[in-house]
Symmetry: C3
């Protein structure tokens, strides 16, 4: 068995990132490539995640593959007293590829060790969601025409947000990134990531609110500030309106700047931004389909 | 964007009704037309409606299309704090067509304004369920060989039943219909519909129970009388057995008369009717597949 | 209508068993046979059974068929006050084949009498689960290269376990089987099955625990001993560790002996057995796909 998996964003080398970007662009230009004809993909969602599931299922369908699976383990009998080991063993006898979402950190890695077929991690708890990172990268390269020399603003919950952590790790493979972190002190970027950037000699700057410096941004990556993250609700009330992006704030930003968001958005991007050409979050969702087609084709050696 | 939608039965002209009827007959004669090959359709059921969903998914499958979606928003994460606007924006980046069921009146119209791809309303609360009306029309033309000069009996809950309201509007496009309404006073056909028929010079008659006049019916359209509709349960008890169709009542009806029902039936059509050749409600369900194939082909300009 | 159904294992003759075995072997050797192209199969799970559903859906997908259905009647509106009769009537107007799981004994037989298309019973309460039995048979013939002269050990809950009852009935069609039953007295094989074997002159032996005699086994069929089956929990505590198969117990078994289990396993097969080549339960799951492809092809006269 020479199965390849995508469990963590660190599983892929820079060359593999670039190959995924190339494949995604190829699928975007030529979406009718039925490379999965006659193949079955299992989408095992041990916790619901409709957005990620729909994106994967669109990618699989556009590649001509068939889908089995479940959308929610509570309405499923698969886990009735059964170990994850046995569920994965069983499903890997049915399918040619497993896409798995699970609430437990580390579950995806474990599944890949048990499975006879490749496993793609579609999110394992607070740990990893590597296909999100790859579609973020694709959205950056598509809009900026490069992955080097990117001035990247990350806004909101930088402490718990796995998407910003993974994107930071991925961007650190490229030349000369500048990171600007905008977050309340309670949700600041953890030290380990800052030390990691220091160890690579990469620049980062920390802010507790939006400043004029966003005029230098190539990408503003917005995330949601959740009330539940604050031990004291009073602290939340103090900052809840600070991390909301509004259209008037975009006036002096670069023409080519683009706003990303992993979605769903709640109120952290005001709807008056939606019609601004710099709003890119819905296009980003479409990029997710091409990127996931690329990842599947790469892991199954279909291209 | 020149997307066409089907939100309300009034969106379609008489010519479009007739075109859908022709296309449905064509699909019934030649069901193997893979016009949706390589296309993805999203079936977004924000409330469960298995019957409508299965009918649409059969139509999509028979056309060769692929399906993504959800069957129930409660087991879905799609709406977790997300606006309908954002959900539709996202999904219209994945799919070539959206079929949507939603409990809120007006939600389908709103979705069609947001979406980049055509939207079919599969029911928005008490408001509209236009594909049901088109399959009802197809069932009438198929069994009566005409849509003009139809004597149509509507029985049961004529106050709240959206299917009878839409069917009345649709039939008013054709020549010389006669409407007979059989309902308890509490559930009588609302005045606005009677005034509408008057304004078009069309005849209607009201009854509070079945009479010998059903011998003149071409179509008897049965609906369910629900206990919840009566402010006083005593009133329900008084009428609950009045609007039940039994086989012996069909003796003097026309040979070619057919009984329709949008299903599910509870007890308003006695099971002793099922084996009568005039019982058409299960064939009507099959017609729903051909009609929905026709609607999809029409909206996407596939024929 | 000349529809053929699979409701009970007794519906099939010995010749049909053998034909299913041949077809299954053919599908295993040549899985890419798109015999269901353009056909729609309904998978109606009135109670969840993810394992059985995934196996059927894999089989249907690998045959090129399309799937409609539901995974759980609680999240479905199909049964809202609607009789099983009407649901089946409706669905048989949509699909070319119905696969049905239902909690009520006898429901599958009733559905087959109502349906216009073939029905496969995917489990009706404690009654029947015939496709499980056919995949068990296929696993036996594949590993033992014969169905005659099999020494078959059945272990665990032999009183309530429908899989062991059906397998016993099926094996009694073949020459010279030997049955060894290992169960606590509370869960012993019911008298009716023992009388049945006596009437056919077939040998069986009863044990209350594992003995050296398993060295003679060709097949050990493990099932789970459930706490809920014991009126007195104390009785369960006494036996709960008696019916656990461990790797060290396999030392003196035949080289060619294979361990089967319908899955899910809880703890009745210790995980130290999994890496023993005699552990066959996950391969058995894969055989389920080929067997179900064979059953579908047989019932629809596709081969």
């Amino acid at each position: 068995m020479n199965a390849k998996n995508l469990i963590s964003i660190t599983d892929f080398s820079k060359e593999e990132y670039l190959r995924i970007m190339d494949l995604a662009a190829d699928f975007e230009a030529n979406p009718d490539q039925r490379l999965l004809d006659g193949k079955v993909v299992a989408t095992l969602f041990f916790e619901p995640s409709t957005r990620t599931r729909l994106s994967f299922e669109t990618a699989i369908n556009r590649l001509g593959g068939e889908i089995i699976g479940f959308t929610d383990s509570s309405s499923s009998s698969v886990t009735k007293g059964e170990t994850l080991h046995d569920t994965i063993k069983m499903v890997s006898n049915y399918a040619d590829l497993i896409v798995m979402r699970h609430p437990l950190e580390g579950s995806a890695r474990y599944a890949s060790e048990v499975s006879d077929v490749p496993v793609i991690n579609a999110g394992d708890g607070a740990n990893q969601h590597p296909t999100q990172t790859l579609l973020d990268l694709y959205s950056i390269v598509k809009t900026q025409d490069r992955l080097d020399d990117i001035n990247l603003f990350m806004v909101g919950d930088l402490k718990y947000g796995r998407t910003v952590h993974s994107l930071l790790m991925a961007m650190s493979h490229f030349n000369n990134p500048i990171f600007n972190f905008i977050a309340p002190p309670e949700l600041a970027m953890p030290n380990e990531y800052k030390l990691y950037l220091q160890s690579k000699g990469m620049r980062y700057f920390e802010h507790t609110e939006f400043t004029d410096i966003i005029s230098e941004a190539d990408i503003i990556y917005m995330t949601r500030v959740q009330k539940e993250r604050f031990p004291d609700p009073v602290d939340y009330e103090k900052v809840k309106n600070v991390y909301i992006l509004r259209n008037k704030m975009l006036k002096h930003t670069k023409d080519n700047m683009r706003i990303l968001h992993p979605l769903p958005r709640v109120n952290e991007i005001h709807t008056d931004v939606d019609s601004n050409p710099k709003a890119y979050y819905f296009d980003q969702a479409r990029n997710g389909v091409y990127t996931r087609m690329a990842i599947i084709a790469h892991l199954l050696n279909l291209k």
